[in-house]
Subunit: 114 residues, 2 copies
Amino acid sequence: MVVHDLTEEEIDRIFKALADRTRRDIVRRTFSAESSISELAQHYKMSFPAVQKHIAVLEAADLVTRIPQGRERIIRGNPATIRRAQELLSHFEHIWRSRIDRLDALLAEDEPQT
Amino acid sequence: MVVHDLTEEEIDRIFKALADRTRRDIVRRTFSAESSISELAQHYKMSFPAVQKHIAVLEAADLVTRIPQGRERIIRGNPATIRRAQELLSHFEHIWRSRIDRLDALLAEDEPQT
DNA sequence: ATAATATGCAACCAAATGGTTGTACATGAC
DNA sequence: GTCATGTACAACCATTTGGTTGCATATTAT
């Protein structure tokens, strides 16, 4: 059931992409509704090319897909990649839990019966 | 039940911290067993201060804690922060799901009965 | 006391990041 | 055809990032 067939480089790209407030906001918007780049750009104080660059970062991380539609590029969020990221984080939790289990086992060894 | 009382700056720090291979590896190791900085540093080709800096980044994101113990600093992973990050990601999924629900509702409206 | 170990921290450097402006091109509207 | 809109992309700039070396300090071991 472990699916994270991602390279370390891909993981880098996903977390780097999510490590920016504007990009997280773009992800939120594109998850809630598809929008063109200029529609998205209206919501931020920065220039249009700046927003374009953020979208390029998100696309490189496969968090978002750019779909040509006439002269527009429709941006759609990709929930599968978010799922992958969640799996990565839950992997850390598994490690933690197995550590706790090992510590519990050690304690049980020290006190055969109380 | 929504707990993510994190500022955007804190979220930035968490994802930026996780966006580096060495730092993810340090998190894995400190989740599986506490180690000193020099123990951790032995596993990487880079210099000791470089590893120190990575740990400082992780500590600023509250992903690990530095516990002074004699002349050593024991590094312990903090699973609560990983949990927060997971909650943030699952928030995206919720947005996605409610979007799908809205689309389904629209379709149902278009076809009152089939 | 001296030596070895573990850490802290400053100064420096190259590369990446996040922004800008300017220009070019494709598509849709009139 | 002309004009407006939407996007692409290059060049530039300041700041951040991820690494280095060198030196100082604290703690443990002999």
